[in-house]
C-alpha cells in the first residue's frame, strides 16, 4: 500500500494537518506506517515474524492516536497510552483479523515503558496529586518526511493533544541518540536510568519524562496545537522552518546600518553620546548558566564560545564558580587551563563568596592552570539580606577583610562585588569599599542583583561611588553588573557607562538568574552606534549562532524572536 502519494511533494508542505485518528482506514495506515518505519530503521529483531501491521497489546490502551496528513496522506503519527481501554478496540480487532495478524496477548504492565524501567515512584507521585499520566510512543514519520521539521511538529501536536484531554505528565522511552534533543526541548531523561534493551526491540532506549504543564522553549508551540485542537478538532501547521539566521541578520543589520535616530541624538543631545574606552565582561558562562532553564553546555562548546568572545573584542569573561563543586568546578578549571594553553587574549575571572574556602578553590584553579585570574568575591550586604540572615555589619566587614586579604596574599587580583548594591545605602557601601580596597582589592563591582535599578538610579549610584573613589584617592576599576527583572538591563548599562564605569557585564541573549542579565549583543550594537566601538558583523553573527545552538530557550533578537529548533531530528522512533 502506498502510504505517501508521489504527488505529495515538499512544495505542498503547508498543508500539514494534525488530528486525532478514530476511523478504521486512518488507524490501518498508521499501524502500517509504524511497521514500515520500524523495519526500515532495523528496530525489529531479525527473527521477528514479517507482518504488515505493527499492533501490540498496548494499542488496546492507546486512548488517543494522532497523526499528520498532507493532502489526505498520512506522513507521521504517534500514540498516547492512558491506563484506560481505547475507544478504538473494535476497529483494532477487525484490522488484526483483516490482516491475519495474531491478536497480541493481554498487557502485563499499565504502560509500555514499564517493561524497561520502574516508573512506580513517578507515577505514584503524579497520581497522588490527582493528575493523569500517559505514555507517548510509537512516534513515527515516513522516511520521505524525516529531517523536514515534521518531527518537531509531531511532538508539539501530540503534546497539544494530550493537554487538550487534560493530561499533565507524559512518559516515553526514546533512543539514546535523541536524549539530548528531548532534554534541550524541555523533557527530562530520568536520573540514574541508563539505557535499557528489550528482546522485543532491537534498540536501546532511555526513559524520558515530560511535564506538560511546564512546556518550555520550542515545545511551547504545543499550546497553539492544543488551542486549535480544542476549537477546531485539528491543527494545521507549516513545515517551513524559521530562518535560523534571521535574528542574527536583524541584529547585524542594526549594527551595520542603524535606522532612524539620526535626528535627536546629535542635534539636541550632548556630544559625544557615550564615552569610548569602556570594556565588556561576558558573564554567560557563570551567571548565564544560573538561568533555571539553562542546560550546561559541554566543555568543547564553552571553549568555542571563548573564541567567539575574543573575535568580538570582548575583554574579559567569567569562567565559573569553582566553589560550587561538581561539574561547575571541573568546567571552570578546565576552561581556565584552556585559556592558558591557547594564550587567549581574554582576562579570566572566577567567582566566589567572601569565604576562605571559595578563595582557595579559585587559587587552586589558578595554580593548576598556571594563569593569573581575577577573583570576583561577592558579599551580600543589602539591609534586607542582613535582616533575613541575621547578620550584623561588623561581621560583613570582617568577612570582607579576611577574604580579600587572603586572596591578595595568594596572588589573586580581586574584584570586590557588593551584591544588591542598588538597594544598599551609601553608609553601608562606603565602609565596605574602604575595607576591601585597603585589603588590596583592585576593582569594585556595583551589582543590580535583582534588577531593581532604573537608569536614573544607576546613574546616581555610579556617580556617587565614582566620586567616593576619587575623593579618597583610590584608583580602582569600577564595574557594573545588571539584571533585567524590570526590563531595564541594557538601558542601565548605558546609564552606567554614561556615569563613568570602566567595565560593564552582560551575557549572550541576556540569559541568567531568573529573567537574566543585560544582553551583550544589544550592548555591542549600542556601543558601536553611540561610541564608535568597532564591531565585526560576522563575529557577532557567529556569537549569536552559538547562542542558538546552546541556549535555545533564549530569544536572541528582541524584535523577532524565534526559538531555535535543533537543526536535525531524524526518525523519532520512540519505542513505547
Amino acid at each position: 500500500v502506498e502510504l505517501l502519494s508521489p504527488r505529495v511533494t515538499q512544495n505542498q508542505s503547508d498543508l500539514l494537518t494534525f488530528r486525532e485518528l478514530n476511523r478504521a482506514d486512518d488507524l490501518r495506515r498508521y499501524f502500517m506506517l509504524r511497521q514500515m518505519v520500524f523495519a526500515e530503521q532495523g528496530y525489529w529483531p531479525t527473527d521477528a515474524p514479517r507482518v504488515s501491521l505493527d499492533v501490540d497489546s498496548f494499542d488496546r490502551h492507546s486512548r488517543f492516536i494522532g497523526a499528520f496528513t498532507v493532502s489526505g496522506e498520512l506522513v507521521g503519527g504517534a500514540r498516547i497510552i492512558l491506563a484506560q481501554d481505547t475507544p478504538n478496540a473494535a476497529v483494532i480487532e477487525s484490522l488484526l483479523q483483516e490482516h491475519g495478524c495474531v491478536t497480541p496477548p493481554a498487557r502485563d504492565r499499565t504502560y509500555h515503558a514499564q517493561r524497561w524501567f520502574n516508573f512506580d515512584a513517578v507515577i505514584g507521585h503524579v497520581q497522588s496529586q490527582g493528575k493523569q499520566v500517559v505514555e507517548f510512543g510509537r512516534t513515527v514519520i515516513h522516511a520521505a518526511w524525516q529531517n523536514k521539521r515534521v518531527g518537531h511538529l509531531l511532538l508539539h501536536a501530540v503534546h497539544g493533544l494530550a493537554r487538550c484531554h487534560g493530561i499533565s505528565v507524559g512518559l516515553a522511552v526514546v533512543p539514546p541518540r535523541l536524549a539530548r534533543f528531548y532534554s534541550s526541548a524541555g523533557c527530562r531523561v530520568l536520573h540514574r536510568r541508563g539505557p535499557s534493551r528489550s528482546p522485543e526491540l532491537n534498540a536501546e532506549v532511555v526513559p524520558v519524562v515530560l511535564e506538560l504543564s511546564r512546556l518550555e522553549g520550542p515545545f511551547r508551540v504545543a499550546l497553539r496545537a492544543e488551542r486549535c485542537l480544542h476549537l477546531k478538532g485539528e491543527w494545521r501547521s507549516s513545515t517551513h522552518s524559521a530562518n535560523p539566521e534571521e535574528s542574527a541578520e536583524n541584529l547585524v543589520d542594526w549594527a551595520g546600518n542603524p535606522r532612524g535616530g539620526h535626528g535627536w541624538e546629535p542635534v539636541l543631545s550632548r556630544l559625544p553620546l557615550l564615552r569610548s574606552g569602556v570594556s565588556l565582561h561576558d558573564e554567560t558562562l557563570r551567571d548565564g548558566l544560573q538561568s533555571p532553564s539553562a542546560v550546561n553546555p559541554p566543555l568543547e562548546a564553552k571553549t568555542s564560545l571563548l573564541h567567539h568572545m575574543v573575535e568580538l573584542g570582548i575583554e574579559s569573561a567569567n569562567l565559573g564558580l569553582p566553589a560550587a563543586g561538581g561539574a561547575a568546578r571541573k568546567h571552570s578549571e578546565e576552561l581556565l587551563q584552556y585559556v592558558a594553553a591557547q594564550h587567549l587574549p581574554l582576562l579570566p575571572t572566577l567567582a566566589g563568596r567572601t569565604l576562605p574556602e571559595d578563595v582557595d578553590a579559585i587559587v587552586e584553579a589558578s595554580q593548576n592552570a598556571g594563569l593569573a585570574v581575577e577573583a570576583g568575591l561577592f558579599l551580600g550586604c543589602s539591609p534586607i539580606r542582613q535582616a533575613c540572615e541575621d547578620w550584623d555589619f561588623p561581621r560583613l566587614l570582617a568577612f570582607t577583610e579576611k577574604a580579600v586579604s587572603h586572596a591578595v596574599a595568594q596572588g589573586l587580583q580581586v574584584m570586590f562585588v557588593t551584591e544588591d548594591t542598588t538597594r544598599t545605602p551609601a553608609h553601608i557601601l562606603e565602609p565596605l569599599y574602604h575595607t576591601a580596597l585597603q585589603a588590596g582589592a583592585s576593582a569594585i563591582c556595583l551589582t543590580d542583583t535583582v534588577g531593581y535599578a532604573t537608569p536614573r538610579g544607576t546613574g546616581k549610584l555610579v556617580s556617587h561611588v565614582k566620586n567616593f573613589l576619587g575623593q579618597h584617592g583610590y584608583s580602582a576599576r569600577l564595574d557594573w553588573h545588571g539584571h533585567n527583572d524590570r526590563g531595564l538591563g541594557v538601558a542601565n548599562c548605558l546609564a552606567a557607562i554614561e556615569a563613568g564605569v570602566d567595565r560593564v557585564h552582560a551575557t549572550l541573549g541576556g540569559c541568567g538568574e531568573r529573567v537574566g542579565n543585560a544582553r551583550l549583543e544589544e550592548l555591542l550594537v549600542h556601543l558601536a552606534r553611540l561610541s564608535g566601538r568597532p564591531l565585526c558583523s560576522d563575529s557577532l553573527e557567529e556569537y549569536l549562532l552559538w547562542g542558538r545552538r546552546h541556549l535555545p530557550w533564549v530569544p536572541l533578537s528582541p524584535a523577532r524572536s524565534t526559538p531555535v529548533q535543533p537543526s536535525r531530528v531524524a526518525a523519532l522512533g520512540a519505542a513505547g
Binding site: V126, R214, R220, A324, P425, A453, R514, V515, A559
Partner: protein, 373 residues
C-alpha cells in the same frame, strides 16, 4: 512593607503617571470577536489601562465596529486604526464616542485628517518618522498637524533609536512648540529593539508624554506594558490599581494570541521568579522561617511576585545548596534525614540542568533505600 530596606538611589521627582494605551489586540491580525474583546477588557481594566486599540478597520468592517462599540466600557475608550482613503469617513462621524488613530504618510489627505479631527476629539495623528526628522522639519509638521485640529499627536520609536536622552529631547522640543490655551498632548509609542523600548517609554512620560502606547508581552515588538506597569507600581505612581491580573494576561496572550513568551521574559516569563541557586534560596528560606513572606518575596526579587499574582519558586540544580533540597522536600511533605539531603544534593551537583519535581521524586525514592529516613 519592605521598602524601608531599600536605598533611595531610584528616587525621582514626582512625575505624572501616563495613560496606558494598549495595542495588544492588534496582534490578532483581525478585529476580535465580541467574546474576545469582553475577555480582554475584563483582564486589562483592573490594571488601569485607559484605551484599547481594537484593530484596523476597512470599509467592510463598520457593522463589526458598531457591535464591538456596544461593549465599550465607560471607563475605557476603544480605539480603531483608520486607513482614511479606504475606510471612508461617514461612519466615523457617526461614532464620536470612539477613538481613532490615523498614520500620516499613508496617502492621507489634509481634508480627510481635518474632518476626522473635527468629528472626534479622541483622534490621534501619528507622525511615524518624527525621530528621524531634524528639528526644523519636525516643527513644520507639528504646526501643520495642529492647524488641522489634531489634539493628540503620536511619536513612534524605531528599533531602539533614539536612546533615552534623545526621546526626552524630542518630546521637550515638541511640547515647547505648543500654542494657545490647550496645546496638543503627545503619545509615545515605542518599538522594541536593542533592549531600550521600556527605558524610552519611561523617558517619554518623564519628559511630558501624556500617554504611552504598547502591548502586553511586548507582542508585535512594542513597549512591554506589563513591565511599564510594574515600573509605575514600584515608583509609587500607580497606587490605585492592582496588578494581580497580570498573570492571567500572560496566560491569555499565550493561549488566545499564540504569543510565545520566552521563559526569561521579564514579569510574565516562566523563569521570572524561579531560582535554583543556593545563595538565593538560602536567603528566601531563612525569610520564610522568620514568618516574613514579604521579605522572602523581596530578598532576591525586584518585583514582588505576590503583587502580580505569582509566587517565588525554589528549585534544585547543579548550583544549589542544601537549603534548596530541604525546601523542596518540605514542599512535597517528604521526610528526610541530613544524610539523604546531602546525597540528593550530590546527585543534583552532577546534573547539567535544574531538576524537575518528577526527577527529584525519582532520585528521592532511589536514594531512600540507601538512606532510609
Amino acid at each position: 512593607m519592605t521598602m524601608e530596606f531599600f536605598a533611595g538611589w531610584n528616587e525621582a521627582p514626582p512625575f505624572a503617571a501616563p495613560q496606558i494605551w494598549d495595542n495588544t489586540l492588534q496582534c490578532l491580525g483581525r478585529l476580535p470577536s465580541r467574546r474576545e474583546l469582553r475577555q480582554w477588557l475584563e483582564l486589562v481594566r483592573p490594571l488601569g489601562v485607559t484605551q484599547v486599540c481594537v484593530g484596523s478597520v476597512g470599509p467592510r468592517d463598520w457593522d463589526t465596529v458598531e457591535s464591538l462599540a456596544a461593549d465599550s466600557p465607560g471607563d475605557m475608550q476603544l480605539e480603531f486604526d483608520l486607513d482614511l482613503p479606504r475606510s471612508g469617513l461617514s461612519c466615523v462621524v457617526q461614532q464620536p464616542e470612539l477613538a481613532w488613530r490615523v498614520v500620516l504618510g499613508q496617502g492621507q489627505c489634509e481634508q480627510a485628517v481635518r474632518r476626522l479631527c473635527g468629528s472626534s476629539s479622541s483622534t490621534t495623528v501619528v507622525l511615524p518618522e518624527a525621530v528621524c526628522m531634524d528639528p526644523l522639519e519636525l516643527s513644520r509638521w507639528l504646526r501643520k498637524v495642529e492647524d488641522w485640529g489634531a489634539r493628540r499627536i503620536e511619536f513612534v520609536g524605531t528599533h531602539g533609536c533614539p536612546w533615552g536622552a534623545g526621546v526626552e529631547s524630542l518630546l521637550r522640543f515638541a511640547l515647547g512648540l505648543g500654542r494657545g490655551a490647550t496645546p496638543p498632548s503627545y503619545v509615545w509609542s515605542g518599538v522594541a529593539g536593542l533592549g531600550v523600548a521600556l527605558a524610552q517609554a519611561i523617558h517619554a512620560y518623564e519628559a511630558g508624554a501624556a500617554a504611552v502606547r504598547g502591548t502586553f508581552g511586548g507582542a508585535g515588538g512594542s513597549v512591554p506594558l506589563e513591565s511599564l506597569l510594574v515600573h509605575l507600581m514600584l515608583e509609587g505612581l500607580w497606587p490605585e490599581h492592582s496588578l494581580q491580573t497580570l498573570c492571567s494576561v500572560g496566560h491569555w496572550l499565550e493561549v488566545e494570541l499564540g504569543v510565545d513568551l520566552p521563559p526569561n521574559h521579564p514579569v510574565l516569563g516562566s523563569d521570572a521568579f524561579r531560582t535554583a541557586t543556593g545563595v538565593h534560596a538560602a536567603a528566601i528560606v531563612k525569610a520564610e522561617a522568620r514568618h516574613r513572606p514579604d521579605w522572602a518575596d523581596a530578598v532576591y526579587s525586584a518585583v514582588p511576585a505576590a503583587r502580580i499574582g505569582r509566587q517565588q519558586c525554589i528549585e534544585v540544580g547543579p548550583l544549589s545548596g542544601k537549603a534548596n533540597v530541604q525546601h523542596w522536600l518540605k514542599s512535597q511533605q517528604l521526610h528526610c534525614s541530613d544524610e539523604l539531603a546531602e546525597a540528593i544534593l550530590a546527585v543534583a551537583k552532577d546534573q547539567q540542568q535544574v531538576l524537575t519535581d518528577l526527577e527529584l521524586v525519582d532520585i528521592y525514592y532511589t536514594l531512600n533505600g540507601a538512606h532510609p529516613c
